[in-house]
Amino acid sequence: MLSTIFTADFFAAILRATTPILFATLAAAIAAKSGIINMALEGMMLFAALFGVIFSSLTQSWAGGLLITMALGGLLGLILAFFVLNLKTDEILAAIAINLVATGGTVLLMLAFSGDRGTSISIQSVPAPKLDIPFLQDVPVLGSLLCGHNVMTYLALIAVVVVHIFLYKTPLGLKIRAVGENKNAAESVGISSRRIQYIALILSGILVAMGGFFMSGGYMSMFTKDMAAGRGYIALAASSMGANTPIGGFLVAVLFGIAQAFANVMQLSTIPYELIQMVPYLTTLIGLGIYSYSRMKKRQKAGGK
């Protein structure tokens, strides 16, 4: 088993498992930085996974499908924002509602488009391609490690940097953080907190839609019922463990990716599959406990002085 772990294939498996979680974690981070827990990530990812299949098939291009999916993801973010910010709906209950609609709605839509209620196998979708980087792929070891991953994986890694720069180096990012830190203080210097939170939730929707697109156009090449499988929730945990920073979230998402990839390898062992399936969730739970504990101790220390 060890021999299968230290290979380029295993490295690729980690990246593959990390990609959707990473997009969703970044989405959770932006929303959290603006002061909103976006638990609707789960439903948004599920919707996006289906949209990806439908629109890449209609446009016969993965890029076209991706762009439309991202736009619709932004729209879902907008809807959540409308309910939370304008109609003052509790954000958790609004998220639960969206997730419910997603569970049923995706099946209905899939049925309408493919005539099948389990998978979208009959829709001729165009998954995102794998990317080979010229020259780099000829370099031994490094080439096989860094090349040949899905385009979305590279986009996810780029997104970490972009979101980091956005949140910490741009005026809009500063405003988002200001609103999340202290809404009233931000309002007092003339920032419209509602507008900023709208923007944050729309961006959150766009990012998680990219993760959803990868689920059905990369991780797998079709949509299956409930395929988000709790990834939106894991992303919430990952983001909170990473102190809602893009870099922190990235590290935790990779940890999850390792746990998932490890679970996939362990399938070949004699350990019961159901116990292996618990590994990623257990890892997240323990990680969350350790992180929260250390933060609590730090706060207590700071408060004690």
Binding site: I96, A97, V101
Partner: protein, 355 residues
């Protein structure tokens, strides 16, 4: 106060109507014969005795998890693990039924009691994590639901599985199953227990000292803390009790005439439904049977519709989602609320003048 209550009722009704309207629009899009589909959705449960009692059967698990969630949410503990607690409750009841030889009347009682205990211990995990590590119960409870699912599937596959079936346990022995109350239906004594639990939940939350402390903490934790309430015990008691009730519901559901084996290899969703029930009931356990009846009626109607028309069952989830959105939207119809309050104030003023 009276006008506030009237307003809440009005808003709930409006939310339900809007949700139904949206679902009609969806039905018009997907169906060849939309009127037929809508007819079955709305009147299906009333077409036969069996269909109607299907509604009653479907209410039972909803009342349990709904009441459990009411107690946790009343204390503002957003623990979503009742899903897993219900699942584990079912597993434990199956284990007791299959692995312990107990006399006929005793077996289901022991099974249901242990199922409830398992549920309580399970939902206590996020509570203990919150107390010991300050980890948010929302996130941790989302994670442990998956642990409950895979753990139960593991136990079923390795210790209870009937090789002849492959994906389910051995049949639950006669001595452990609950009897039917009404002939030719599957309504079982669970409905009586469920109604009792809803009433007891109400008494606990609104008529006891601890219940008051729970609600006060839910309204304003800082204030509760300053008035000397132990927040740690509120966190623990609310979630232990919530899980106890959800686990009991899971145990009863599995031993009911509806299931003859433990065959739950995916989460059943009663934990999420519970949040709808709790929202409709405004966190008051006394109203959970009513909310459960509504949801169960809708579900049964949808499944009858799915059988007799070309619209599939999943439409229910859309209706449910939209209902929640509008019921919890505080600004929804708020202008009307203002008007109502203003009118009442005006008429009160007039009364005073007359006097």
């Amino acid at each position: 106060m009276n006008s506030m209550r009237k307003f809440e009722v009005l808003r709930t009704v409006m939310a339900i109507l809007i949700a139904l309207l949206i679902s009609f629009v969806v039905i018009f899009f997907v169906s060849e014969d939309p009127f037929n589909a809508i007819k079955w959705l709305l009147t299906g449960p009333l077409t036969s005795k069996r269909n109607f009692f299907n509604v009653v059967e479907a209410m039972i698990p909803l009342i349990f998890t709904g009441t459990g969630v009411c107690i946790m949410f009343a204390a503002n503990q957003i623990n979503l693990a009742s899903e897993g607690a219900f699942h584990l409750g079912g597993l434990v009841a199956a284990v007791v039924a299959l692995k312990m030889t107990l006399p006929a009347g005793v077996s289901p009682v022991v099974g249901i009691f242990l199922a409830a205990c398992a549920g309580a211990l399970f939902t206590a995990i996020p509570a203990i994590m919150k107390i010991k590590t300050s980890a948010d119960e929302l996130v941790s409870s989302l994670m442990i639901n998956y642990l409950a699912l895979y753990f139960s599937t593991f136990i079923m596959k390795y210790f209870l599985m009937d090789p002849a079936i492959g994906s389910a346990s051995y049949p639950i022995p006669e001595a452990s199953t609950l009897p039917t109350l009404i002939s030719r239906t599957r309504v079982h004594p669970g409905i009586i227990v469920a109604l009792a639990v809803a009433v007891l939940g109400y008494v606990f939350l609104y008529k006891t000292r601890i219940g008051y402390q729970l609600r006060l903490t839910g309204e304003n934790q800082k204030f509760a803390e300053y008035s000397g309430i132990s927040i740690v015990s509120v966190i623990l008691i609310s979630q232990l009790l919530g899980g106890f009730i959800a686990g009991m519901g899971g145990g009863i559901e599995l031993l009911s005439p509806i299931y003859d084996r433990f065959s739950w290899t995916s989460l059943l969703g009663y934990g999420w439904d519970a949040i709808i029930i709790c929202t409709l009931a405004k966190k008051n356990p006394l109203y959970t049977p009513l909310s459960a009846f509504f949801l169960a009626y809708l579900r049964t109607g949808a499944s009858i519709m799915a059988r007799y028309s070309d619209v599939s069952l999943e439409i229910v989830q859309i209706i449910q989602g939209v209902i929640i959105l509008f019921i919890v939207a505080q600004q929804f119809l708020s202008r009307y609320k203002h008007k109502m309050i203003a009118q009442e104030a005006k008429s009160a003023l007039k009364d005073e003048e007359v006097a």
